[in-house]
């Protein structure tokens, strides 16, 4: 082979050209590295925009309301992010949340189980539901969309059978079950325990995803399953653990839900699956897996909350809120496509 000697070692001119940092490429690289950057920017801009549109928007009471309205979907989106990072999807999130909240409420009221145990039973239901989804995905090897479409219907039916369609009101329950709805004041802004619980979920999951091996493996499995397997990662085990963990997160969302609506209703959370996916997608996590940051999903949930609240304060019809959310989703996915298309 003689070409080795004849090719000069200096950098290929074409390569040099490709590596030149145009503004577009710089933005591209930045967004790739920090996926939560664009939702953060959108959130700040939308808060400023609605603040200018209506001065009541920026009132502490209103902002606190927005955050409270976002708490349940935000918590669900945290679990949904885990699953979407592995290139999966979970349509059963709302159903799992409602089933576990009904089990907590019913056992605490009808069966006289102590409140703390009732909450743990709800958590167990969430873990169990996650285990069922995870086993169907990893052992039976069905696509997550189909698995969770099936379990969505199963969990909804089980919830109605179990609760006989009856709502358990907040005042019938022990105080610990509605504890997530209690508020306290931080510098004049009212915060609920549920909001804090949601923030704690994000903090813990953000740490686990960015600072532990398990977190790296979740990203690697979603990025390229075969490469992950060849790198020695037990892909099925990681996937199963993701579904089980997400199930626990959905159960915690159920705790937050009881406090938020001050009841456990079998009919709550009907749109929760799509709302959580919307938050994750607007938050910059790729539906194709392996890319995204969990804080982005919180930002995504907040963006939806800000748009809904801001538009209704400005006197727009509810339909315009829905329309805007639709546009946001499409813009967010377009940005993701652009980021994934390799070099900018």
């Amino acid at each position: 082979m003689t070409t080795a000697a004849t090719v000069p070692p200096e950098v290929d001119p074409a390569e040099e050209f490709l590596d030149r940092q145009t503004p577009g490429r710089r933005v591209h690289a930045l967004l790739r590295r920090y996926p939560a950057l664009s939702p953060a920017l959108v959130l700040v801009l939308s808060v400023v925009f609605f603040g200018i549109l209506n001065d009541r928007f920026l009132a502490p009471a209103n902002l606190s309301l927005v955050v409270q309205q976002v708490a349940v979907v935000g918590a669900l989106a945290a679990g949904q992010t885990l699953i979407i990072l592995t290139a999966g999807i979970d349509l059963s999130v709302g159903a799992v949340m409602v089933l576990s909240s009904m089990v907590s409420a019913q056992t605490a009221t009808a069966n006289g189980v102590p409140a703390a145990v009732a909450l743990l039973l709800g958590l167990l239901v969430g873990l169990g539901a996650g285990l069922v989804n995870g086993l169907l995905v990893t052992k039976v090897k069905l696509p997550p969309f189909i698995v969770t479409l099936g379990t969505l219907n199963i969990f909804v039916a089980l919830t109605l059978l179990y609760s006989k369609g009856a709502t358990v009101r907040g005042r019938e329950m022990p105080a610990l079950l509605t504890w997530t709805g209690t508020t306290f004041s931080v510098g004049g802004v009212r915060v609920t325990v549920g909001v804090l619980l949601m923030l704690a979920l994000y903090a813990v999951l953000a740490y686990v995803l960015s600072q532990t091996s398990w977190g790296r493996h979740v990203y690697a499995v979603g990025d390229d399953k075969d490469a992950a397997r060849l790198a020695g990662i037990a892909v099925s085990r990681v996937l199963l653990s993701v579904y089980v963990t997400a199930g626990a997160v959905f159960a915690v969302a159920g705790w937050i839900l009881i406090g938020r609506i001050n009841a456990a209703s079998p009919n709550a959370g009907a749109d929760a699956n799509l709302d959580s996916i919307t938050a994750v997608v607007i938050g910059g996590t790729s539906l194709f897996g392996g890319r995204g940051a969990i804080w982005g999903s919180l930002l995504g949930a907040l963006i939806v909350g800000v748009f809904r609240n801001g538009l209704s304060l400005a006197g727009f019809d509810v339909l315009y809120q829905t329309l805007t959310v639709g546009v946001l989703v499409i813009v967010a996915v377009s940005v993701d496509q652009w980021i994934r298309r390799g070099r900018g």
Partner: protein
Amino acid sequence: MNTTQTPVLQARGLVKTFGRVVGLDGVDLDLYPGEVLAVIGDNGAGKSTLIKCLSGALRPDRGELLLDGRPVTFDRPQDARAAGIETVYQNLAVSPALDIASNLYLGRERRWPGWQGSLLRRLDHRGMRESARQAVRDLGITTLQDVTQPVETLSGGQRQAVAVARAAAFGSKMVILDEPTAALGVRESNQVLQLVKDLRERGLPVILISHNMPHVFEVADRIHIQRLGRRAAVVTPETHTPNEAVAIMTGAATAA
């Protein structure tokens, strides 16, 4: 290379069948310390099956593997890796969205010392980045400047370099490279071939699977020719020409 030494890796009479298809029909293979052994063969000659048996991806039906003269069995790729055999696979080398350092340490991340590592299971990102930089520098891969760069922003040759760097950093006994230059251009192929020579210089034996005769003859010390599920011959670039090797490979000639 010194053929009087104990081979690093010996395969004796490996047989692997898939239903009625015979993949390996009693293959022997010897890899000596510090050498580059090329494995060539036509499609269906059993190259991939042989490599998969060596790297633990497949378990042979019969025959034995000796590592440093001691019998070993690999049920999973992790077993081979734990024994010091690293494999760079043809297409599935790296995770594109992860950065270079994360890729190097994927599946064997390093934790913080003390309670942060044991209790909080916190990863030592800075330490891994530092070692990744060192591993890249050791191999003289000057084109990889920033180990926090996602792998997908790299060229094909640079990605292959990341995979080779990973293998070299962790392969204590030997490295298997499966068609490392198949998807690369001339310049990038030369970089990878240079990496192969560097590995040999560091005393790490290499098994190189390749279709590309010029590449094989440029870097190999010995050439294992696989034909119809068996070892047809072992030749050297000094004793045989590429055409003679191809002739043995296709059955037009037998080894002299």
